[in-house]
Symmetry: C2
Subunit: 240 residues, 2 copies
Amino acid sequence: MPAAETASAIEIIPKSTEQGGAMHEKVYATLKSALIAGQLAPGRAVSVRRLAAEFSVSAMPAREAIRRLVAVGALELTATRRVMIAQMTPEKMEEIKQARLALEPILSEFTLSAIAQKPRARNRLVKTLEDIDVNLDEAIHRGDVLAYAKLNSDFHFALYRQAGAHVLLSLVESLWLQFGPFMRVVIGRLGTSCLVDDQHKEIIEAVETLDAAKLKEAVRADILHGMHTISLDEVQDSQA
Amino acid sequence: MPAAETASAIEIIPKSTEQGGAMHEKVYATLKSALIAGQLAPGRAVSVRRLAAEFSVSAMPAREAIRRLVAVGALELTATRRVMIAQMTPEKMEEIKQARLALEPILSEFTLSAIAQKPRARNRLVKTLEDIDVNLDEAIHRGDVLAYAKLNSDFHFALYRQAGAHVLLSLVESLWLQFGPFMRVVIGRLGTSCLVDDQHKEIIEAVETLDAAKLKEAVRADILHGMHTISLDEVQDSQA
DNA sequence: TCCTTTAATTTGTGATCACATTTTTATGTA
DNA sequence: TACATAAAAATGTGATCACAAATTAAAGGA
């Protein structure tokens, strides 16, 4: 039993049907966050009934959430149609790296032009990024891998979300969903000692000064650095 | 007592469970092809029960197929959670264009390096592309919009599939799923007279000569041309 | 004819059951 | 202990029902 206290077991009887949004939406969103933040290990089995039990719902919402996550590559099917958190391979890692380098600088540029004429939004974004970055530094010094992974994803998506570019954001989310679980494992092995966030400071500066070229380059550097760190680790399977 | 004649009329009883692959897989694949090839109009309503009836299956496989297509942006939810084929907006179109320009040249480059050391695979690919291109030209001269849309997607994915890059291919598929239905409408309005396929010839040449730079530029030009053609048309909603 | 109101139909979503298959655990044998 | 075999539990998938909400069709009134 690896999970432990995942807030389950509570008798939050989910009403007859729903409350605000659909149940499967809630299950999906929760799983998505956990995967992006690297809180679930690759190769871990995910079953409809267990997921349903954890969320205290029937099989239906669990099935739909799983189906969506499979569709975006976060979960993968075995030969016998069982579902697990996607494994990493060197080839897949290379693809993800190329796709991130291609998309995330564009997305950050969209953000820049979205806030170019809105000083208040820009200041708010800078503030948000700085706050996250402070916590990020603390997590690094604490050696808290879990917190680092979560805050790092928070940082990037706080930046990307402001782009108002739903299509691009979905693509990038899909990529993070695929390497998130694996990143956590790697950093867990290497420790946070190898981590720096120089690029984050530059990203914040570029946002402040509305310097698109600098921003894109900083994002690109951040991706390269992160992916390089991961590649230091051999992409051997990490079964539990 | 719904039993009796089961009211299903048609006795294509789909076995107890399945036969080769899962039913929802079949429904999904069929819908995916139709959407990419532009055979379904944007804004058209898609409901679980109607889809199930069309495929002579129960609601279950239809639901899962719909869920997957929503996940990749091919279908969209209304405010009341009803499902329709995604509408196009100028902003979305711009995002898709940027993403295609960022990803498809990379994907074609992957294909090139995948077949670089395999003359037989290369010849087969060239042959496939030439065959499709011949039919494409015919479709253009015939003014057959439907055939053009299908063959055009066939051409690109015949090229991209050879990359063996599942992650990148999924992202690109997602993009085509989103603009496919809309493209059909636009070309339907403009007619095939405005279409040319100069880039396709260049793409084939670049594959033959293993010229990566030329290939990427040709793919880029093809995307720009296609998206420009579409943009000539005002992105007014095309409700039925 | 046009608009409001009411009835009927359609639809999304959750829950539950059935069944074949797979996976795991238990059991027996050498 | 090691391994093959059988029993038991778990799992994916399809089918069906229930219910609330929404859409559409029908009816009524001016």
